[in-house]
């Protein structure tokens, strides 16, 4: 059969010569390889003191952003939940009452918003789907827990605090911003 990659090798099962059967040259060759590794640069990162830098496009724990006036951007349209391949997102929508205009940007908001961090595969499709620029994946790690229940993150953990907004600009590279500009949902402004 013709090789498609051109890299396949035909295996020849020939009799071993005396030198090969002694195995000593092979053992010395192997020992030389391990000896070389002895002096190689170590790949260990001494973790608590030194943290490995995340890549610029690292997708970690989600955040639900607020707008400039501190109102929640999410309108519970459910596009993120629909786009989620792992079905990790659920939400319940509610109508904004009078007097809540400072809290929610539009008439509809998410009364409940949950992401199951055990199901989530951190693909970032929710962020891509979001018409309101409300959900972003950040460079934070999801911490470990002892109970499965604790991995279901509600709004208490997902919505960013009013006084300390979470920086999501790191992943918003020029290419990403260009892409978002051409999004069909122009009502985002």
């Amino acid at each position: 059969m013709e090789s498609l990659s051109g890299r396949s090798k035909v295996v020849v099962k020939k009799e071993m010569t005396l030198a090969e059967r002694l195995y000593l040259p092979a053992i010395i060759g192997g020992a030389m390889i391990t000896l070389r590794h002895l002096f190689k640069r170590k790949s260990t990162v001494k973790y608590p003191e030194k943290k490995r830098e995340f890549s610029a496009v690292w997708r970690g724990q989600h955040v639900l952003k607020r707008d400039e006036q501190g109102r929640e951007r999410c309108t519970a349209c459910g596009l993120c939940a629909v786009s989620c391949p792992a079905e990790a997102i659920t939400m319940t929508a509610a109508e904004r009452k009078k007097g809540e205009e400072r809290l929610y940007r539009e008439e509809r908001y998410a009364a409940k918003y949950e992401i199951n961090m055990l199901r989530c595969i951190f693909c970032g499709l929710c962020e891509e789907a979001c018409p309101k620029e409300a959900i972003f994946l950040t460079d934070r790690l999801v911490p470990t827990e002892f109970e499965r229940q604790d991995f279901i993150y509600g709004k208490d953990k997902l919505v960013e605090p009013v006084d300390e907004p979470i920086d999501v600009t790191k992943r918003q590279t020029a290419a990403v911003l260009e892409f978002k500009k051409n999004k069909r949902f122009a009502h985002n402004k």
Binding site: T34, H37, L38, S43, T44, K46
Partner: protein, 346 residues
Amino acid sequence: MTDYLVYKLILVAAIFGVTLLIAMYSTYLERKVAAFIQDRVGPDRAGPFGILQPLADGVKFFMKEEIIPNVSNKLLFILGPCIAMVTALMAGVVIPWGGSLIINGQAYSLQITDINIGILYIFAVVSIGVYGIMIGGWASNNKFSLLGAIRASAQMISYELAMGLSIIALIMITGTLSLKDIAAMQGGGVGSEWHLWHIVYQPVGFLIFIICAFAECNRMPFDLPETETELVGGYHTEYSSMKLGFYLFAEYINMFTSSAVMSTLYFGGYNFPFMNDLGLSPNAITIIGTIGLFIKIFLFIFFFMWIRWTLPRFRYDQLMNLGWKALIPLAIVNLAVTGVVMVLLD
């Protein structure tokens, strides 16, 4: 007389302490070498560069729960690690750790006792060491332990033959079984009588000896008695706490002792090149010689570890094939060739 006893006691205590210390730090070295060969850094949290790691390990061994299985033979279960440890420590008695120190006109030899059958003594003691493993494995009343013990005894007995045969060729050259005499034979300087190390005369013998030493110490290419992939832990599956520690410790002491024996038999022991030409005082020569011996031992221990992280484990039938069909015939041929050459040179 009291002088003599005090000197011997100090020497015994010193060698006992040094042996334990080196065994302790062999575990550290093993982990470091393993890590470095695998491009890691190894233990580095306990003290600078992790040099307190053996202490931490020791404390851990002592604090662990001691489990003696209900179905085991309790006396033999406890006896097993004791035998392994005692025999491992006993072998160091006849090894010449250096020449003689002259203090107040009296010569103090750095060897606990010079038996004129030193090599035989070491072989005898090492053979008893097998009992530690066999008894421990059998008394555990566990199939894995028993299999490990059977493998250990079969392996040690097979490899002892080739080891003994390779040694006989060396003894034919030296004409003595005393380790002190054998070590002294390899010394000298250009000005005085000059002797080459025995490795020059017995390269094949040394090769056989070192392969057998690997097998005797249950070290990596031949660590079938404790193959963790197939026998859980081999003969020490049921052991916990310091009894397990004793077994592991005995293994490292054995490694240290066999390195010392190899250095003494084939690599000049406490002798170093040009020892009589540098114009040093006898005491200085002795001290440098002892340091030299320990450097040789250290290199051998490193070699043990280096090979461990290079070669995969043998299959059991391959192990037996190598022992009986390759090493023993080779040792016999070596023996015959040595004899013929000696007769021709006479």
